[in-house]
Symmetry: C2
Subunit: 465 residues, 2 copies
């Protein structure tokens, strides 16, 4: 993408694809006004100009090509630095017919615009200093946000909350570097300007802030991608049925998600505003023995990836003693994940007996997936165990793997600096690691960047943004 | 719908459903500004007003609810009669996240807006005199238009081309009625103000204009709904394969059409910009004999509904003599439709022989549906037979069944008037039929209307328009 000239005038459909009341075609670039003016007429079919109009004004008129009226449109203009991209921009709001959308794109392309690459509008906003890089990345997160918490975290990042934290870290680090380099300049004179103790304190403080951010990525990842819940159990325990029941009720929301990503999110659902991601072991080859099943790599992987492991069993087919053994085996693999025991296939007759049989496990949930009984209890339990709504979104939470990675690199470098300070290593060696840490932090906000990085970030955007 | 108060402030998502760069939420009604102002803040989080701003201006700001920033938005305001609906209106352009779209709708509903009914924005435009009824109906046609010709016809209707024709007809008819009534007033004095010959000429002229419009509906219907093409033939002639091949190549376009109408349009396709609607007889119970098959009511129905009948046969299984018999039988049912003979299952070996065998039919097309051979020839033929692009869209073409029906009723009434004139019937009897014709014409543009009619028209719109 970075091979494309950022002064080209780009065009794209900005609204969702489909026929609708209205659709918006967006242009940005030095010729945006001129290109639209080629086809823009008043309702009396007289040529209309745009460039002489004030920014942020909307103008009704006709788009006419070779004497054929393509549409009655409303055109809003945004001038230079006042626009989203920082360039002259035009939004053409037309009737939401697929035919009209296509015709308008064709006309603007003919008049010299080119199709925008994914994220190219936002990339221009970054290149023109309207947003820093982490803010630009948050725009894509915001559009993809599907729960209150992921929305809030993306919003905070887009509005610069995260950037200002990173900038503060860099400033502290630059101050620190200045002190070290001062020492370096005068090192032959054996003068120690910076108090070594103060230096150590400062670097420790910086490291601890970075560590807190790195650690927030666990939560951030869950916020962005959903809380991973593994459903495990013997064959015929009813895993698929349970999964279908859970997802069925959520179908309306699932079906709203664009088809392109359907494959990876079919097992996502929002319960009470919190996003869960069900990791299906139903498709995994299972054997009749839970021990063997855990031996299967895939099942182990699921358990390791899950924040919550739902162990589902057929309440008719297992005694409390058997269960106890299986739980012991499970516990070896479960780590810090939460375990939820779910007895399936209950019915009116065995209900009381079952509760007596498994009275050792007061937290156990008794359901009938098939008859959709007590499913609400399970949902309530999931929410209880991991309610992302209780996370304070005003805390800075890292949700982006690239940022987490840069922070980890910076952390490693600074730990080396800290060790160097302790072992009285020479200032010029320290400076190398400090510079490396500064670069990693600068990469997050885009103060230090390169073309490949920009490409890999912006190609993940949707077209039109 | 007409039970709803037209002064309520209504709200709806105006852009297509889905996550995208931007989405637009639209409000209309006396409280539109006030409702949006409830949540609208500057980027410095100070309350912002809208009602003091000039119409057609766009304002950047934040939507904030209970100290949570819902989104950074661009709000465009439209004042009173200057808006689409003729009421104060606001368009909120937000990031196209499903979550944000839902949150904004919720907030505006909480602040006193109600969800718009389908077509309610356009209905208000009609009620406030911004559009007449046939123009309002054209808005829905325009959004649904999927070919150059259907787009042009809808555009012409939306811009009042059809309405002005109807209005002119009504004016002529009113003039005529005035003359008749004048005669009526003085009838006892045996004065004949209006020249009977002139009256007869005038009414004949009006009738002929109406008849031309009524006749244009055949074309109009084809423009709007596609050219009906029936594919008939014996079992195993390859009808399903041909249909799939034809549609397969068009899949990209088909998949763009909203799922809700998928059922009825799966067999539509655009060839070279012209819309064809394939009427599938593949699913109809077939027998091994074409005569018996034609006897099946459904197949007959398909043939009757088709402008083009494609007769497909297995070139290996039929001789020219047999074919001749079958065509004779087909011709009895085909009426004015065009017949296209298609020999299927050709291969390199029999190609020349076949052409010799069927040399009596130089127009015959030889294809292999299975190997997708010569499909282009068939497409070219279909275009040749019925190229809607050659229709002059600047001619007034009736595409709406309601309009066609009203015109037919008016025509009938005026023919009675004409007969009355010939038989020197009394003026007051003529006046009744003239009034009836006037009402029918007035119903088209909405000068004469009723609530049920409005309901049935606007409920067919999409929400947000």
């Amino acid at each position: 993408m970075t091979n494309y000239n950022p002064n080209d005038t780009i065009v794209a459909l900005a609204t969702a694809h489909g026929s609708s009341a209205i659709a918006v075609v967006r242009l940005s670039g030095s010729n945006a006004f001129k290109i639209v003016e080629t086809y823009f007429y008043s309702k009396f079919q007289k040529k209309k100009t745009l460039k002489d109009k004030p920014t942020h004004t909307a103008h009704f008129g006709l788009i006419i090509h070779q004497e054929v009226i393509i549409d009655e449109v409303l055109i809003t203009i945004f001038k230079g630095t006042k626009s989203y991209t920082g360039q002259d921009s035009v939004e053409v709001s037309c009737h939401g017919s697929l035919f009209i959308q296509q015709q308008l794109l064709k006309l603007f392309l003919n008049a010299g615009a080119r199709m925008a690459q994914p994220g190219e509008f936002t990339m221009r906003a970054f290149l023109n200093g309207k947003l820093d890089l982490s803010q630009a990345e948050a725009v894509a997160d915001l559009i993809a946000s599907n729960s209150a918490i992921s929305h809030q975290v993306a919003m905070q990042q887009m509005r610069g909350g995260f950037s200002s934290k990173i900038k503060l870290l860099r400033e502290n680090l630059i101050d620190f570097a200045a002190l070290i380099e001062l020492e370096l300049d005068f090192s032959e004179e054996d003068v120690e300007f910076a108090n070594r103790k103060d230096l150590k304190d400062l670097i420790s403080k910086i490291i601890s802030v970075i560590q807190k951010l790195v650690n927030s990525f666990d939560v951030g990842n869950v916020i962005k991608n959903g809380i991973p819940v593994g459903i495990v159990g013997k064959p015929n325990a009813g895993k698929s049925t349970l999964l279908n029941v859970l997802l069925e009720e959520d179908r309306a929301i699932v079906s709203e998600i664009p088809g392109t990503t359907r494959d990876t999110i079919e097992d996502e659902m929002t319960i009470d505003g919190v996003l869960f991601r069900f990791i299906d072991t139903a498709g995994i080859r299972t054997t009749s023995d839970i021990v063997e099943q855990i031996g299967v790599n895939k099942a182990l992987e699921v358990i390791r990836k899950s924040a919550i492991v739902v162990y589902l069993f057929d309440s008719h087919a297992i005694s409390c003693g058997d269960l106890k053994n299986e739980i012991e085996l499970l516990k070896d693999h479960i780590g810090n994940s939460q375990l939820v025991l779910v007895a399936n296939k209950i019915d009116a007759e065995n209900d009381t007996d079952l509760k007596a049989e498994f009275s050792e496990y007061p937290e156990m949930i008794f359901i009938s997936a098939k008859h959709q009984k007590n499913i609400e209890d399970l949902k309530k339990k999931l929410i209880e165990l991991f309610d992302t709504r209780t996370i304070d979104a005003s805390d800075t939470i890292v949700t982006n793997a690239r940022h987490a990675n840069s922070l980890r690199n910076a952390e490693k470098a600074l730990i080396k600096v800290n060790e160097g300070l302790k072992s009285n290593i020479a200032g010029d060696l320290l400076a190398l690691d400090i510079r490396y840490a500064l670069e990693e932090l600068g990469g997050i906000t885009g103060e230090v960047t390169n073309e490949d990085l920009l490409d890999s970030i912006f190609t993940r955007f949707c077209i039109g943004k």
